[in-house]
């Protein structure tokens, strides 16, 4: 599914963890490509490997982890690059908004010190220039009283404010690719809508490519061009956003769409998925979703390869033995 002009291309990414109980695999054979100005939504529950994929791309995996495969950014493989070289890429060109706004900011440093670090390090901006840029970005994110905000410490803010500061920080260097790992999980719907609008506006102004990692399919609906659904470290379905929502092929994608309470649904339409997401320690040998899937049979005891939907639109990939009809 590679395209000629892709900005970021991930090929056969695998992430393993060395643990006392043996080796665990968090991400299996993951590939995707992202063009300039495009948005990829990555959807999955906790433990699906979506965050580890992003951390692997940023070279931020834990010490006991090992990533294999290729992450091509502007044609260069940045996977397992030495830190000094990687630092030329991550931050100024490849920025990330982390999931937890409570713990991702340094409690000992003022917001100004943390925000301007990227400009002072990578663009040799003076303190005054960096401060002005930070101020402007905070205003753009509609933070009340940005001057006071710069001189404050993280603990003085609510979760929503901290998350907006994180976003402002990532946007300061105007990155080519912005990885947003659950950027709005801790926020209210109104703030969430504002942040989605902001990301969209940013994309139109600067042509930024966005990878939006979330567990909420509704959040990626309006923002994404393509959507990748992950489960148990594997890609379950990967297609253009419209095909994911209107031409769903994988039973897990279908279940996700049905188990999330929606305003537009009738009240009895809520269908829970039985059981729990599998843990990495006892991952099913076959399709990871098989133990919770209503359509599972003997075929599902072996993993389903990710393959093109035969009668679907181009670029619609699904990993399921039962893709004959719409799920």
């Amino acid at each position: 599914m590679s395209t000629h002009s892709s900005l970021l291309e991930v090929k056969n990414l695998n992430v393993h963890f060395q643990t006392p109980e043996g080796e665990l695999q968090a991400v299996r054979d993951l590939s995707f490509s992202l063009r300039q100005g495009e948005t990829l939504g990555v959807v999955g529950e906790s433990g699906s490997g979506k965050s580890q994929t992003m951390l692997a791309m940023m070279g931020l995996l834990a010490n006991n982890a090992r990533a294999e495969g290729q992450v091509l950014f502007k044609g260069d493989n940045i996977l397992n690059l030495p830190t000094a070289q990687l630092n030329q890429v991550r931050g100024p060109q490849l920025a990330m908004i982390f999931q937890d706004p409570m713990t991702s900011l340094n409690p000992f440093l003022t917001v100004e010190r943390q925000m301007t670090e990227v400009l002072q390090t990578h663009q040799n901006a003076s303190r005054g220039q960096a401060r002005a840029a930070a101020l402007q970005m905070l205003e753009k994110l509609r933070i009340a009283d940005p001057l006071r905000c710069l001189n404050s410490y993280p603990h003085q803010f609510s979760g929503g404010m901290r998350q907006r500061i994180m976003i402002a920080m990532a946007l300061l260097s105007q990155p080519d690719v912005l990885i947003a790992d659950e950027p709005t999980t801790a926020l209210d719907v109104t703030v969430q809508a504002q942040i989605v609008a902001l990301l969209r506006q940013l994309q139109q102004e600067h042509g930024t490519s966005i990878i939006m990692v979330t567990h909420d399919l509704g959040l990626v609906a309006g923002l994404s061009d393509q959507v990748m659904v992950m489960y148990g470290g594997r890609v379950m379905e990967h297609a253009q956003a419209d095909d994911i929502f209107y031409n769903t092929r994988h039973p897990y994608t279908r279940a996700l769409l049905e188990s999330v309470p929606r305003l537009e649904h009738a009240d009895d339409a809520l269908l829970a998925i039985p059981g729990m997401p599998p843990s990495l320690r006892n991952m099913p040998v076959g399709c990871p979703f098989a133990p919770r899937c209503a359509r599972a049979d003997n075929d599902c005891q072996r993993p389903a390869p990710l393959s093109l939907v035969t009668d679907g639109k181009p670029g619609h990939w699904v990993a399921c033995h039962h893709t004959g009809a719409t799920a």
Binding site: M161, T190, Q192, L223
Partner: protein
């Protein structure tokens, strides 16, 4: 499985609240010397709660919904002109002397892991309310009651001697629910019970709460910032903003025909799993942040973000109008649109 609304007007409410206020004393000084101020987190809320119903409370963070729940539980002091649980007038009773009410009103908390004591195993966590309220029970009787409750919330007996850190978020929340129902309470206050859970687990917990409500004839107060979740479980819904009640009504009317512009704004902001509609959504409706509760706007608290606000809204707060199906506090309700 649509919940039917059991609120005949003749019925005596389980809970009557009139003009409930919660105040915190906060230090508002940036310097060395403290300067205390009063922060009014809940400003005069009045409502009734009827047996067997689910009352949903929605609002953005900082709107006072958790303070309201804590005040109703008697976990924090509050002032009101009337606070009556099950015919017991507690308006002037200090929270230390609520006694038997505590037994009949239980709470389920937001963060499933941190609301369980990490040093107690599942048996001890769930048995704790029994130790307090039924000290006469023998250890065996307590254990039998715990096992019965565990099964009721969909867990197995093998869990008894596990510790919270060994359990998943969904399992922890089920234990939080088991701890709340073991005394067979009449009312459970759920403060964001599903917002910390995975999406596929969320639906399981919502269905569990609904099922327990049917089996045990529970009355639920369900607090959430997620309108869709509230819509799926509630009979009536209260919308709060900056400590004030904006709208209170039956679910059907409130979601189909909201009267208050704030309710409409919340509905518009909720993401929908429909890319064709979402792409063309305009976000013009609600801008800015929720104002600081230390310095709330004069007049209608929502007027600084409201699209329909005019001079009157800034001057005078609208009183709460009670109509047949829905009640709201707004000068310019959206009734004919």
């Amino acid at each position: 499985m649509t919940p039917t609304a059991p609120t005949p007007p003749s019925q005596q409410p389980l809970l009557q609240v009139r003009d409930l206020r919660v105040r915190y004393t906060v230090n508002d000084s940036p310097g060395f010397w403290p300067k205390t101020r009063q922060l009014e987190a809940v400003k005069g809320i009045s409502f009734d709660l009827y047996a067997g119903e689910t009352l949903g409370i929605v609002g953005e963070s900082g709107c006072g919904k958790s303070s309201l729940a804590k005040a109703l539980m008697g976990l924090i002091p509050s002032q009101s002109s009337l606070l009556k649980w099950f015919d017991q007038d507690l308006t002037h009773t200090p929270i230390g002397r609520w006694g038997a009410v505590r037994r009949d009103v239980q709470m389920v908390f937001q963060d499933p892991l941190s609301s369980l004591d990490p040093r107690l195993n599942v048996l001890k966590i769930i048995a704790e309310p029994l130790r307090t309220h039924e000290p006469g029970l023998s250890a065996d009787q307590r254990k039998a009651a715990v096992i019965e409750t565990l099964i009721k919330v969909g867990l197995e007996e093998s869990m008894l001697y596990r510790y919270p850190h060994e359990l998943s978020g969904g399992q922890c929340q089920r234990i939080g629910i088991a701890r709340a129902i073991i005394l067979r309470p009449k009312v459970i206050l759920c403060d964001e019970p599903v917002s910390a859970l995975d999406v596929s687990i969320q639906a399981q917990i919502i269905q569990l709460l609904r099922q327990l409500q049917r089996e045990m004839n529970l009355t639920l107060v369900f607090i959430s910032h997620d309108l869709a979740v509230v819509k799926h479980i509630s009979h009536r819904v209260m919308v709060m903003y900056l400590g004030t009640m904006m709208e209170l009504g039956h679910k059907d009317t409130l979601f189909k025909q909201p009267a208050h512009p704030y309710t409409q704004a919340l509905l518009d902001a909720a993401p929908k799993a429909d890319p064709r509609k979402e792409r063309h959504k305009s976000f013009s409706l609600l801008s800015g942040d929720i104002p600081s509760p230390l310095d709330p706007p004069a007049g209608c608290v929502f007027h600084t973000r409201c699209t329909r606000a005019d001079a009157q809204c800034a001057l005078q707060a609208p009183s709460f109008k009670d109509s047949e199906s829905s009640s709201y506090a707004c000068w310019h309700p959206l009734l004919n649109t």
